[in-house]
Amino acid sequence: MGKKQQTWELRLYVAGKTPKSLTALQNLKKYCETHLQGQYKIEVIDLLVHPQLAEGDQIFAIPTLVRKVPEPIRKIIGDLSNEEKVLVGLNIRPVKQLRVE
């Protein structure tokens, strides 16, 4: 990957600690640890606490994962249970073939 180290800024919008939100967060952490070790930031925003933030990122579904950086902004809604879709959605190149195990 060379010197061009990039930090991935990810934002996860949730509404309270619902099972769906928890699953999403767990999934996200797992994928990031696997593929973006040391180059990511996850910010969890609870809309029940900050409802005014929903408008800015055009959130209508919960949970929603927003990739702020690198641009362009991308969104994935749902509990992120499908790893492949999440990686494609975030445009992350897997570190190694996943099915090697």
Partner: protein
């Protein structure tokens, strides 16, 4: 006594009349229709009127247009959304959804939308909510199962929030809405329609369903113009207006004479029918002139000539209408009938009348309107118009152009008008003369005689026709007869004088001879 359904007034002209008080309060109303039928404007007017007139702040959630676009679009209706937003009477939120930017994986719900909506409602204490168009969700999200469940939850939630809501939906084939929104909304459904008949577009509104309330079931025409939306209830005609006993001059002493010397009733409707060039406009102008002389306001709707043309033409018969225009007593409004649809004409007239508050209104000629609509529609429009004007105590004078001499006036007018004056041409002996008679005049004594109607530099005049042994004599024949009568008398006089003179001479002669 059981509690009646509470209603929320929309403030939209005419709609509250049809719905007998507005849309159901604290419930959701569905407005559906094809593209361009005015759904967004309708719902926006509901919010704006609510905010301005009824002190109910509103939230507009736009799924289609951006908020600034929306503000620009409705600015043409005189709505200042920015000001309302600043005053915290209105809140716009654009829910932007782009399929290409969104990936779906696994379970989700629309709590984000709920939270945004709730935040918007709470921030201004909204009582009214519009979702325009919720169906856009279907275009951006693939999981229909989740969507449907969430929509159902949304409508329940709106009810719990006790806000009066309008949701809009695009009309689908065979269905009211493309995605069957009507299943979720069971209280009130309004269908808007935009159709073109004879190249003239008409917008119509129909209340398909209104649970727990009586409502008008017809299709009602409606208009969108610079004052917003106006729904025109066609059948709210009642025959219960007050009548006036006051009589007002027709502007022609000789015509007044035909009505017992007093003229028309104030607030009555007068029809002047005749073939082309019989002086209908002149009689109308005379009446307008008389109205303005009494320092009352009059409005002249011309569908044939321009104001300048009428002023010029009437000057030739000694009526100075320009003077009244200058003093602000007289207003002209000219429009080609084909310029817009009947409803638009009707509403324009309503609006001008509301603004000017005249005591006399002239429509010249109404028959031209027949070119823009079907006969039935023209008839019903005129009925509504005349009824409306008379309800306001305005004297209405309409002229009607007859194409042939024997044509029956059949826009349903004959039964509607109180006074009907008919003018006919009589062509004989190389000249054309006009005959005027009163076909009917309700509630007053009127002459049964046919008069000759003359237009000269000094104005309009009715002349008694000569009923001689040779029948009716008009025009130059009548003049001749008159002249003959006069000359005959002169001749007689002269003869007499001659005779007398001769006698005197004869008497004197002998003396001289002597």
């Amino acid at each position: 006594m059981p509690r009646l359904l509470a209603k929320s007034r929309t403030g939209i002209n005419g709609l509250d009349e049809i719905t007998v008080g507005g849309i159901p309060q604290g419930r959701t109303t569905l407005i559906c229709g094809g593209p361009g039928c005015g759904k967004t404007l309708f719902s926006m007017e509901f919010l704006v009127r609510g905010a301005i007139e009824f002190g109910e702040p509103g939230v507009f959630i736009a799924f289609e247009e951006k908020t600034d676009e929306l503000a620009t679009n409705v600015a043409s209706l005189g709505f200042n959304l920015e000001k309302l937003q600043k005053e915290k009477k209105l809140r716009l939120d654009h829910v932007h959804m782009e399929r290409s930017e969104i990936e779906e994986t696994g379970e989700y719900d629309l709590n984000g939308l709920f939270i945004r909506l709730e935040h918007a409602i709470n921030s201004i204490g909204a009582k009214r909510v519009v979702l325009d168009t919720v169906e856009n969700l279907f275009a951006s999200l693939t999981n229909e199962g989740i969507l449907r469940a969430e929509l159902r939850r949304l409508f329940h939630w709106l009810k719990e929030k006790k806000v009066t809501a309008i949701i809009t939906g695009e009309q689908g084939e065979g269905n009211l809405t493309r995605h069957g929104l009507e299943e979720y909304v069971s209280d009130c459904v309004i269908l808007l329609d935009h159709r073109v008949i004879n190249q003239v577009s008409t917008r119509r509104l129909r209340i398909i369903k209104y649970r727990g309330s009586v409502h008008g079931t017809n299709e009602y025409p409606f208009l969108i113009d610079e004052n917003g939306i106006t729904v025109l209830p066609v059948t709210s005609l009642k025959l219960d207006r007050e009548v006036s006993l006051e009589r007002i001059s027709t502007g022609m002493p000789s015509l007044d004479e035909m009505f017992g010397g007093k003229g028309y009733y104030r607030g009555s409707s007068i029809l002047i029918s005749g073939t082309a060039g019989t002086g209908k406009t002149s009689i109308a102008a005379c009446f307008v002139n008389e109205t303005c002389k009494r320092r009352e306001r009059a409005v002249f709707f011309a569908f044939e000539e321009s104001p300048a043309q009428i002023v010029r033409n009437m000057k030739s018969i000694g009526l100075n209408l320009a003077h009244h225009v200058k003093r602000g007593l007289l207003q002209f409004h000219s429009a080609r009938p084909a310029l817009y649809g009947l409803e638009m004409h009707l509403s324009t007239i309503y609006k001008i009348v509301k603004m000017v508050k005249p005591t006399t209104v002239v429509l010249d000629p109404i028959t031209n309107l027949a070119s823009v609509g079907l006969n039935v529609e023209v008839g019903s429009m005129l009925l509504r118009l005349i009824d409306h004007l008379q309800g306001e105590g305005i004297t209405v004078l309409v002229t009607a152009l007859m194409k042939t001499l024997d044509e029956q006036m059949d826009e349903g007018m004959s039964s509607l008008v109180d006074t009907w004056i008919s003018i006919k041409d009589i062509e004989a002996n190389g000249e054309r003369n006009k005959m005027l008679y009163v076909m009917k005049s309700r509630g007053m004594k009127h002459s049964n005689q046919v008069r000759e109607f003359m237009i000269s530099n000094d104005g309009l005049k009715l002349v008694e026709i000569y009923l001689g042994p040779g029948g009716i004599l008009v025009g130059s024949e009548r003049e001749e007869q008159k002249l003959q009568k006069l000359t005959g008398k002169d001749l007689q006089d002269q003869q007499q004088r001659g005779l007398m003179a001769r006698r005197r001479q004869e008497n004197a002669m002998p003396k001289n001879q002597n």
